[in-house]
Amino acid sequence: MSSNLKRRFINKVFVALCSLSTLLAVGMLALILGSLIVNGAGGLHLSVFTQDQPSPGMSGGLRNAIIGSIAMCVVAMIIAVVLGIMAGTWLSEYSRNSKYGQAIHFLNDVLLSVPSILVGLFVYEIMVRPFHGFSAFAGAVSLALLAMPIVTRTTYDMLQLQPNTLREAGMGLGASQGLVIRSIIWKAAAPGLLTGGLLGFARISGETAPLLFTALGNQFLTLNMTEPMGSLPTTIFQFAMSAYDDWRNLAWVGALLIAMAVLTINILGRVMTRGGKR
């Protein structure tokens, strides 16, 4: 009887600890989002989007950083989506359990979690050092390298979900394997492929470390991909580490914008997979 009581007591403590840890985590994360809104929402004026970043003590916004971020992310996503979908397609449709295919699949999973700062160092060594200059294009390439494994992985998973009968039906009509993939499999998996792109986009839109020594940063608005270009994360880093209050306030606004953007993209991706599976 006493051992039974002890077991029940231990169980009660366990349930309480589990509930407590959930409460603690949810509370902590609410705290983070809350302080983001408290500190960032106040500075969220139209001027944030219409003016470039200021010198200390001047008024200004984050236009150059926002546009720079969008430009680099778009270029990166074009590269990553094209290459990622092709690579995922090869892994799912053509490699068919070959040793090489398994190795690539494994390496892609590893590449997925390689620290982003090392990808930045790599791109610095191959694109910045040889040409003696930081450039937005180098930044975009490093972001593409971070997004591509995600797109590849999602593409692979989504294509694997398509039933084999679909492929056989296409082949039975006399279409070649490539035509079946492009006209039937890709179309059937389209929402899933889009989700992969969105997940990759969500990952890179807040990336800071690799941009520090590829795109470097730029306090002026530019769309020239061969020059250094500002981006929201690097500007936040520079402003937050500074000693000026108005710069720090702008950093909070920037952090709020990035968090909101990433959350929106993630939710969009989530809604779309649910639509695709049904």
């Binding site: 231990i10 840890s21 892609n108 590449l111 700062i117 070649s176 490539g178 990336e207």
Partner: protein, 319 residues
């Protein structure tokens, strides 16, 4: 699927000429894209090795053993950042692991149905918030709070000669090894909790119900049925979490204090490999300084590569 998909060539299909030639082009394009993964992986290793070679050659084994990092006299010993990386990552794992298991068990076993999904989605969403946001929160909210409510009282009330006093010695500004580990723990927590939850959901209902049917309490079911069932995957996910903590850059750079000496206490400022690279790389003026930083990058790559490969092998076997 309507028949138009096959009979009318789409714009995409017009790119590739019909017949075996176009087929071959498409196939080899896909193959090249997949091979790019291998090229990128090999490229990272080779580029870091070449870039860091001068530092390895100049300092040899002292690069790992010495903790003197001095860009002025051009002496680089990386023991400080390497130790700092390992300490913060393991501390973060130690803090986050019990919480992550608690959360996922709560979501799978105890949580009311209506709440389980929203909490799980919230946890997953928070795993995606960029590290720079966590870093800013750490710098402006956590660090001042920590200095005021924990560091000051400890400094005043604990004698510096005791064991505890030595552990908490340091400048009371909140930028130290422990707060950096805390931020890292907060960052890897949602990721680990959501993957643990998915793992626990793979345990077949019959197995759990059988254990309940034998009269086991939920605690016993979790400890002796669910966790043993997913053990391999569990260890794999822990390793992935460790990999994240090891390579995390921005959040740590904000809050660790960025000094290169070996940390003497939990409340001492320090640095990690990633934070050192992020701070100094663009300002490195001499060849040897950037070589030393690249060499640090290679060390970080080797550590995370090892951890990630072990993680993937453990997880891959299950599925």
């Amino acid at each position: 699927m309507s028949d138009s998909a096959l009979s009318q060539p789409s714009r995409l299909n017009r790119l590739f000429p019909s017949g075996s030639f176009g087929e071959m082009i498409f196939r080899s394009l896909c193959f090249s894209a997949a091979t790019l993964t291998l090229v990128a992986m090999a490229g990272i290793i080779v580029a870091l090795a070449i870039g860091g070679w001068p530092a390895f050659k100049a300092f040899g084994f002292n690069f790992f053993l010495s903790s003197e990092w001095n860009p002025v006299s051009e002496v680089y010993g990386a023991a400080g950042p390497i130790i700092g990386t390992l300490i913060t990552a393991f501390l973060a794992l130690l803090l986050a692991l019990p919480l992550a298991i608690g959360i996922s068990v709560f979501l799978v076993e105890f949580c009311p149905r209506i709440l389980a999904r929203p909490i799980a989605v919230a946890v997953e969403l928070l795993a995606g918030i960029p590290s720079i946001v966590y870093g800013m929160w750490g710098l402006f909210v956590l660090a001042p709070w920590f200095a005021h409510y924990i560091q000051f009282p400890l400094l005043i009330h604990v004698s510096p000669d005791t064991w505890l006093g030595k552990m908490v010695a340091g400048v009371p500004n909140g930028a130290n090894i422990l707060t950096a580990s805390l931020i890292l723990a907060i960052m890897i927590l949602p990721y680990m909790a959501s993957v643990f939850r998915e793992l626990f959901l793979t345990v077949p209902a019959q197995v759990r119900e059988a254990a309940y049917g034998l009269g086991a309490t939920p605690f016993e079911v979790v400890c002796s049925v669910i966790i043993p069932y997913v053990k391999r995957g569990l260890i794999g996910v822990i390793m992935l979490g460790l990999g994240r903590a090891l390579g995390e850059t921005m959040a740590v750079t904000f809050i660790i204090g960025n000094t290169h000496s070996l940390p003497h206490s939990l409340f001492d400022s320090g640095s990690t490999i990633a934070s050192t690279i992020a701070n100094e790389f663009t300002e490195a003026t001499s060849e040897m300084h950037s070589a030393a930083l690249t060499a640090l990058g290679l060390v970080l790559f080797m550590i995370t590569f090892m951890v990630l490969i072990m993680a993937r092998l453990l997880i891959g076997k299950r599925s």
